[in-house]
């Protein structure tokens, strides 16, 4: 329960904004914010400009960062033009500036020894996995990746990313790329084939829940980056909570912006179906 100590607020410049499939790959000149970001962290961006009716920031998982280059430190995002906020952001021209707070939240834990890791991403959920893959490979781990989406255009998998992993499996709901179906359908086979020790995942909550079911059956560690509606991103509003079992076994409504987004999948009470799970700390006695 603590805000990311490295978080800073600054005005950053867009130095690249390219449409890639259904997404925009955007690069921001962020100075030393880039130094502090770890895979799994996110940033929160003001949207709409002055006179906007949108009062809340939008959260985006950090795709990757570079400490130094033509523009100094840079930070990259993969953004889906979805509603008004993300459409405004992806429509910005080069050199436009935005107000960014980051890095925020927890990061994926990196094992101290080489492991066999399976990285699973849904839609733009693939974004934080490529930086993670690099770190894992650097540490000598085997990295296999599975990316799923509704259709081919919604798979974000840049060539260098594909190359950096030991294997890449694609699934699409409509079969327009890779295996037809959802990511979970291919997981059991991959887990067995590659003797997976740990699963890292990022994507829609329903996908994460399904992955946890598989992880639980096979006893594999599962670190997932959750995505709950966030009003503040910095831990002050209590909107972004998920039921999470703490070390002492107590279930608490925990903030996914400071106790997450990366959480241990085994500790999240999935499928609480829009209810406070029975036994949660402070739950009404009904």
């Amino acid at each position: 329960m603590k805000i990311n100590r490295r978080a800073q607020q600054r005005t950053v410049e867009i130095v690249s904004n390219k449409k890639v499939g259904a997404y925009h790959h955007m690069i921001f000149a962020v100075g030393d914010m880039a130094l502090h970001a770890l895979p799994g962290n996110f940033v929160a961006i003001s949207v709409g400009g002055p006179g906007s009716a949108m009062v809340l920031r939008r959260a985006f998982a950090i795709y990757r960062t570079h400490d130094r280059g033509n523009y100094g430190g840079t930070l990259e995002l993969v953004v889906a033009p979805h509603g008004q906020g993300s459409k405004w952001l992806t429509a910005l021209p080069m050199h436009a500036t935005v107000d960014m707070v980051g890095p925020l939240g927890t990061n994926f834990g990196i094992p101290t020894e080489p492991v066999n890791a399976l990285l699973v991403g849904g839609g733009y959920g693939s974004a934080p996995l490529f930086g993670l893959a690099e770190l894992l490979k650097d540490g000598g781990s085997r990295v296999d990746m599975v990316l799923g989406a509704s259709s081919a255009g919604k798979i974000y998998a840049p060539l260098e990313g594909k190359r950096a992993v030991n294997s890449m499996t694609i699934t699409t709901d409509d079969g327009s790329a890779g295996t037809k179906g959802q990511v979970v359908s291919v997981l059991p086979g991959l887990i067995e084939r590659h003797n997976v020790d740990i699963i890292y995942s990022c994507g829609p909550m329903a996908m994460l829940a399904a992955i946890q079911d598989i992880a639980a059956q096979t006893g594999i560690i599962h670190q997932c980056a959750v995505e709950e509606s966030m009003a503040c991103g910095i831990g002050v509003c209590m909107t972004c909570v998920v039921p999470l079992r703490d070390e002492a076994g107590v279930i608490r409504m925990s903030r996914s912006c400071v106790d997450g987004p990366v959480m241990d999948g085994a500790n999240v009470l999935w499928n609480s179906g829009g209810k406070i799970p029975a036994g949660t700390y402070g739950a009404p006695n009904v």
């Binding site: 607020q9 509606s229 009003a231 909107t239 402070g282």
Partner: protein, 316 residues
């Protein structure tokens, strides 16, 4: 800030003195720790803590928020650790960090408010108590205290009795009433030293995809710039009726100009809530902008500006 040195920015609520009038809003500053990451807590007038209840509370199910035009709905449901853990952990952190502390309390019964006041009475280093009466009264068919003049009065009476004259009591009212001046009258005569105006408006958003209410708790509280005109009106009306009672104004303040509107309407202090979600440094920005605007307008003390919209009216 120009000439800041000659400008007296301080304000007070009865015997509680603050170096400047910009506070956080209850429920919008976490435990203080999270904001301390962005600025030293002693820099602002006070930290108003999230409303604390007798026992720990899990709050409402998610989704707990929906953005709305120039505002947002929340249905947190007062998630919190309960008074004991709050006193043991949150208060010491705030004190250590040099924050002036206004503790907000909330109860489900009149007795709850009494117990909370009793627990807080002896705690050193508190500036004031904010009494949040926008809570369902479980003893009275769940009707919100703040919507019932009698229940509001009872709460304030018990808190006043428990505290004696030690800590100033600021009672936070709901705008969802037919006559806010009448409610203000009740709580003032029951012993309130000041009023906090306004809490959120009851609202709802329906998700047009699921075709059901968007929030887990169905209804939520509307905050942000959308409600500012309602807040300014409430402050103006109440200050007009009770010009000697200090008001902590809030509801959609996101800039120094917004704060100035409320000060001119009659607010002796300003709480900043939703704006912090959009900008972690909002409280500092607003503090500086308001000071500049007041100095530009020739005020030499903050207090001269409080309620000025009423005075210039009588003059002109």
């Amino acid at each position: 800030m120009r000439q800041m040195s000659n400008f007296n920015y301080s304000t007070n609520f009865q015997n509680a003195v603050f170096p400047n009038p910009i506070f956080t809003a209850s429920g919008c500053a976490g435990s203080g720790k999270e904001l301390a990451q962005f600025f030293p807590l002693g820099e602002i007038g006070a930290v108003v803590t999230k409303s604390i209840m007798v026992k720990a509370r899990s709050g409402r199910p998610t989704p707990r928020m929906a953005e709305t035009p120039s505002g947002m709905l929340n249905s947190i449901g007062l998630q919190g650790p309960g008074i004991d853990q709050f006193i043991a952990e949150d208060i010491p952190f705030l004190q250590k960090n040099g924050a002036r502390i206004v503790v907000s309390i909330a109860g489900e019964s009149v007795d709850d408010y009494g117990s909370l006041a009793r627990r807080l009475r002896g705690v050193p280093g508190l500036s004031a108590l904010e009494v949040n009466i926008s809570c369902p009264n479980v003893e009275n068919r769940g009707q919100v205290f703040a919507c019932d003049p009698i229940a509001s009065r009872s709460v304030v009476e018990v808190v006043r009795r428990v505290l004696g004259g030690e800590l100033p009591i600021i009672v936070k009212l709901s705008p969802d009433v037919t006559d806010i001046v009448a409610i203000a009258n009740e709580v003032i005569s029951a012993g309130a030293d000041g009023l906090a105006l306004i809490n959120t408006l009851l609202g709802m958003v329906i998700d047009v995809d699921t075709m059901r209410p968007k929030l887990g708790g169905k209804t939520g509280g509307l905050s942000g710039p959308a409600i500012r005109p309602v807040a300014v009106r409430a402050i103006y009306q109440v200050h007009q009726a009770f010009p000697k009672i200090p008001i902590l104004g809030m509801g959609g303040v996101a800039s120094g100009g917004d704060a100035l509107e409320m000060v001119l309407a009659g607010a002796s202090g300003i709480s900043v809530g939703t704006a912090t979600f959009g900008n972690p440094n909002a409280v500092i920005k607003i503090r500086d902008e308001l000071a500049n605007l007041l100095i530009e307008r020739g005020f030499t003390t903050f207090k001269e500006a409080v309620g000025f919209a009423h005075r210039s009216e009588n003059a002109g």
